[in-house]
């Protein structure tokens, strides 16, 4: 954890981001998280390019077998290689996590920004809409929406993305409320700078830090949501692999108690990636927090 109680000297000539990088490096868990995350990303992105992995073809002589030299993590109930499916499942998780967060960001940031800047009826509309969205149990709402549009990797990604906008909107809104009162913003008004320029040049850059932090946590949340949906059979469609649908096999007491190689690897991978992203998020938060800088 950060040693926030220890005062450290910083180079007065160093930049804000250089300082932040130094601060991040001091956060051991964040560095560990970043290392694990990088390793996982490298594996799931590059391993299929380097090794002949086939997550879709059944080995007719190896249905539900234990780990072996031929299949290092065993095979699933229809003879597909579980190592290959684990790696391809990681691609699904990362894709859903990152893309849905991007969607949330693209919806939430402009809405929060304009609601905080213009205030009035627009603020009321956006913020009450956010309240309405947040008052629904997210998982139930996602289940219903995915059921309506039909489960697929795209529908899951878009639905999770759309429902995540409130987090960014409220965060940016709160930040804008304080930033818009600053002298440099008032100076910009005084010299007749247009609203769009004020928003993008003076206000938005000052909200980047909380947005970055929120993005990491939202990515972790989205990965968990996709896995939950796929576990329930409402996520990515077969034969596509996902860590959630790999763990779905553990619904059987036999698989749960006697075949840990089926559900433990995706479970561990999921825990590792979510923890890593959260650690990185913690580190980014501490690094970018001006109150923790001397």
């Amino acid at each position: 954890m950060p040693r926030s109680g220890v005062l450290k000297k910083t180079n007065p000539k160093s930049s804000y981001f250089a300082d932040a990088r130094e601060k991040f490096k001091e956060h051991r868990l964040a560095v560990f998280g970043l290392a694990v995350l990088t390793a996982l990303v490298v594996i799931v992105v590059f391993a299929p390019m380097l090794f002949p992995l086939d997550p879709y073809t059944s080995d007719y002589f190896e249905f539900g077998t234990a780990p072996s030299a031929k299949h290092p993590l065993g095979t699933d109930a229809v003879g597909r290689d579980l190592l290959a499916r684990l790696i391809y499942g990681g691609r699904t998780s990362l894709f859903v996590g990152l893309t849905s967060t991007l969607i949330s960001l693209l919806i939430g940031v402009p809405l929060g920004l304009t609601a905080g800047y213009y205030r009035g009826w627009w603020e009321t509309l956006v913020m009450r809409l956010a309240d309405i969205f947040m008052s629904f149990p997210a998982m139930v709402l996602i289940l219903v929406l995915v059921a309506v549009v039909g489960p697929s990797i795209w529908s899951v990604t878009v639905v999770i993305g759309i429902l995540g906008w409130t987090q960014f909107a409220r965060l940016v809104f709160a930040n804008v409320l304080s930033v818009r009162e600053k002298e440099y913003v008032e100076s910009a008004y005084a010299i007749g700078t247009k609203d769009f320029t004020v928003l993008t040049k003076y206000i938005l850059p000052n909200s980047i830090a909380p947005i970055l932090i929120s993005m990491t946590f939202r990515t972790a949340q989205a990965i968990l949501m996709e896995s939950s949906l796929s576990f329930l059979g409402m996520g990515v469609q077969p034969p596509m692999a996902s860590w959630g649908n790999l763990m779905n096999e553990a619904l059987s007491i036999t698989v749960l108690s006697q075949k840990p190689w089926i559900w433990a690897p995706p479970g561990i991978a999921l825990v590792l990636i979510v923890l890593s992203i959260n650690f990185v998020g913690d580190g980014v938060r501490d690094a970018l927090d001006p109150k923790m800088r001397i």
Partner: protein, 533 residues
Amino acid sequence: MKQRTRRLRMLVLPVAALVILVGSAAAQSAKPRVVTIAMTNAWDTMMPVNTNSNYGLLVYDQIYDRLVVTKADGSFAPRLAKSWSVNAASTAITFTLNEKATWHDGKPVTAHDVVFTAQLYSNPAVKALARYRLNYFAGTDDAGAELSPGSIAVKAEGDYKVTFTFKKPIFADTVIDQWATAFFVIPKHIFQGKTPAEINAPTLWAKPVGSGPFRYEREITGERMELVANKDYFLGAPDFDRLVIRIMPSASLLSGLISGEVDIIAGGAMGSISLDDWPTAQKQANLVTESIPTLNYQTLIINTQQPYMTQRVRQAFNMAINRRVLVDALLRGQGVALMTPISPASPYFNQKLKDIPYDPVKAAQILKEEKFPFDKELVFYVPSGNITRERTAVLIEQDFEKLGVKVRIQTVDFPTLMNNMRSGTHDFGIIGSGGTLDPAESREMVSPTSTVNFSRLTSTVLTDIIDEGAAKLTFATRKPFFDKYQEKVAELSHMPYLYTTNALMAYSKRLSNVSAVDFSRLNWRVWEWKVGN
């Protein structure tokens, strides 16, 4: 003084110990003997004829009586009717009721109750989703509704004989299988004089008076029903005091059996051990396991109205399915490959029909010859909820990919699947059926006017053969038509049939005299079960 106290203690302590022992032994002997049966879905109503679901039948079967029950081999066994006969022209069937049968309130069950039940259920003002089962009888329309008040052709001949007259000569076994085995008789003295609105209200059925082996005690909606033994049951009192019917997810059935929370499962589609759990179930010291052949089947649906789905293309897909992998590897031998809806367990199975050979090379060749659009992505709807069926779809998708065909699996809930396939947006679909001993059971799936004609056939060639066969009055005269039907099904390949699965049954060793083989025929005979310690 001390000595007296010690003596008193020596006297009191053994007496107290004795009292505790006797008390606990008495409590032990007074403890009710409970059997818990689990199924995977709840009953949807307490009105026995107002449902199309089988889950309610397990409940009704304990509270009420049916005229007849079916056994696994296709034969019928007495229940409320101790015997029955069909007239020479095969236009009427007469049931002789068991004179010992009484309602739970002590009144006798008579032929007048049977007549009243038939009249009540044929009344179109009464809610009865399964009314169609009455459509065999004169005085009813195609939906089984009476043509005028009391017009259904049923007549009591004395107190214990009742005759039903058919619309036309018919193979009586069909009527018994389709109607009598699901005809739960209700007490006239309870329902007489009630208006249809009162009868349709659930309150009248909430605390039912039946004649079955158990009396209703209480229920927790969607979770359990508790019944107490009817010690006066005319076919023999149950060997235990209480029957609890529990609703459990299928994934929890085995753990429930292992822990002793559940004694037995309902069997068939209503609750069987999953294939994944079967080896574990077989290893349990406290369980009896049985793998029972059934009449159920799974079938691939091909949308025949897609311009590229010609008969030759469908035949190519049919021969591209590796049924051996499905049965040997996926089902681990707990099933049989099928070419038609009629399973080898049925007497109507066509022994001469050759298996469709697995030949992906020839299949690919046919597709090329037919100029199949290989660049098109075909939509394959798969209903969620049955893990074996979902895995089957994955294997079939791989079989078709080997031909160079692109297939996109879309897993949806069953109502969505039905809607999508009715609107014809599919190329393939996969569904299952419980199957029956009636060889005409699959008629609805191939009738151009049916709402479940998912392969969207427009020709009546199959229904014509079925109708011709069904009109014959003996097994020997019916069989050639159903042999022909099976040959035509294989030729048309509109629905490549895949396999029939065994019902994987398990029950506690404390139970005996359980005829699990009959469970998939919805025949449990719970009162015959013996309960050990």
